[in-house]
Symmetry: C2
DNA sequence: ATCAAAATTTAGACAAGTCTAAAAATAATT
DNA sequence: AATTATTTTTAGACTTGTCTAAATTTTGAT
């Protein structure tokens, strides 16, 4: 019923890689057949060696947390996905706590939440959820699944998909690197900001934006690809 | 600079056993020469075997966290004590959070705090301290050391040491067992309560108390030995 | 279709923490 | 002071998670 710290981290990594594969597949024309995650991808994400990953995959498969076919790749079973989503729920709720109650900035909370997400107590996390007024998203705009593991509906798109004169409200980021987050802070771009596309430069797809109807800034295509918003 | 979850738990156990030995020594006529803790005592407290304790003691001695003389016993070095006190600080602050902010009862928080005390982040614990308005004691009345490891001064005694007609304000408990705490709740006895000794029965030292000038109850000597108060 | 490159798995080893059983040291008792 | 009894330590083994190096499988390119 209970899983080790390390097992939880592997399940979370696999979940995120699967999610990422889904997003990339839906972006292309390819049909979304059950994507699988590779050993090497997991090793890269976990900062470990492929041999270690193989060892862990065998253990997770034995516990029926993943579907594992040698040399082919892995997916999560329903129970594996449940564990992963619960870890994500805890991670994101603790991030809200750190930002809303302890006044940390959104670029500071990741490492602390990485530890807090493994605290074992369902009561604790439900009380924390209530204490925070049942937030739907974390400080980066990522959705927080409910206790059943259901994610709130979202309809966001990448800023990079907007055309000239279109605008939207920023709802999240696709890159959580502290340096990127601090760059956004410095540029006056945060969750809830109104972003209007003034111009899209043809040769490098960089954008000229109007932030909150006031501030005019230029951002690269790389930046635009990592900002999520709801078009209006 | 950083220690494993298990090392931290051993250091905390040794600290508490030393503290306990100190208290018992000061109660008797014996001089308080540097008490040492035995392998068996640690094994009992950690719910493990003596052989495992010996293995860990070697490691802790190598890291200069304890003074270890084979067959003789152990004490903490200054740096070992510092680690232990910091764990206790974190444990007690998290307990305050759980009770004051998440509305847990004082008998429910121990297991959660046992996990939370190992979260590594000095920033986090200082922010938490401020968020809780720098409490001096945890929900059981135990003193919370400051970030330098200094404990606030306290002058408490056991309820069992009071004589007929003496009274005091309850400041803590010596036993943290959930069943004991729930018994106190049911009896209307909690931190801050005024306890007046109406009568001490001679043959079993049980007491007749007046709680908050209203409620009259009888408690055994065992209970009286586990209630701390400040005499007035 | 074959061969080289890349990815994955196996084999064997290591560190942390635990255990049982046996040996050694200390304490207690007569 | 000698001899049990108790406590503590050592020896050797097991588990979890990791690693390197070698073997195997799959993929890609000609």
């Amino acid at each position: 019923m209970t899983h080790s710290y390390t097992e939880e981290n592997y399940l979370k990594a696999i979940y995120k890689l699967l999610e990422q594969a889904q997003n990339e597949a839906s972006g292309s024309a390819a049909p979304v057949h059950a994507e699988e995650v590779t050993t090497n991808a997991i090793a890269a994400k976990m900062q470990t060696k492929a041999a270690s990953v193989t060892d862990m995959l065998k253990k997770l498969a034995e516990k029926k947390l993943i579907h594992y076919r040698k040399y082919q790749g892995v997916t999560l079973t329903d129970s594996g996905r449940k564990v992963a989503v619960h870890i994500i729920r805890k991670h994101r709720l603790w991030e809200v706590f750190l930002v809303k109650k302890l006044d940390f900035r959104w670029d500071e909370v990741h490492d602390m939440a990485e530890q807090l997400e493994h605290i074992q107590s369902d009561m604790l996390i439900e009380r924390l959820d209530d204490f925070l007024d049942n937030p739907r998203v974390d400080p980066h705009g990522d959705p927080i699944p409910d206790r059943q593991g259901k994610f709130p509906a979202t309809d966001t798109q990448l800023l990079s998909s907007l055309k000239k004169n279109q605008s939207g409200i920023m709802t999240g980021v696709a890159d959580h690197a502290p340096a990127f987050l601090r760059y956004l802070d410095k540029s006056g771009i945060g969750l809830g900001a109104e972003l209007k596309v003034r111009e899209v430069l043809e040769y490098d797809s960089s954008m000229h934006l109007l932030v909150n109807k006031k501030k005019s800034i230029y951002i690269s295509h790389d930046v635009a690809k990592n900002i999520l918003l709801r078009k209006k």
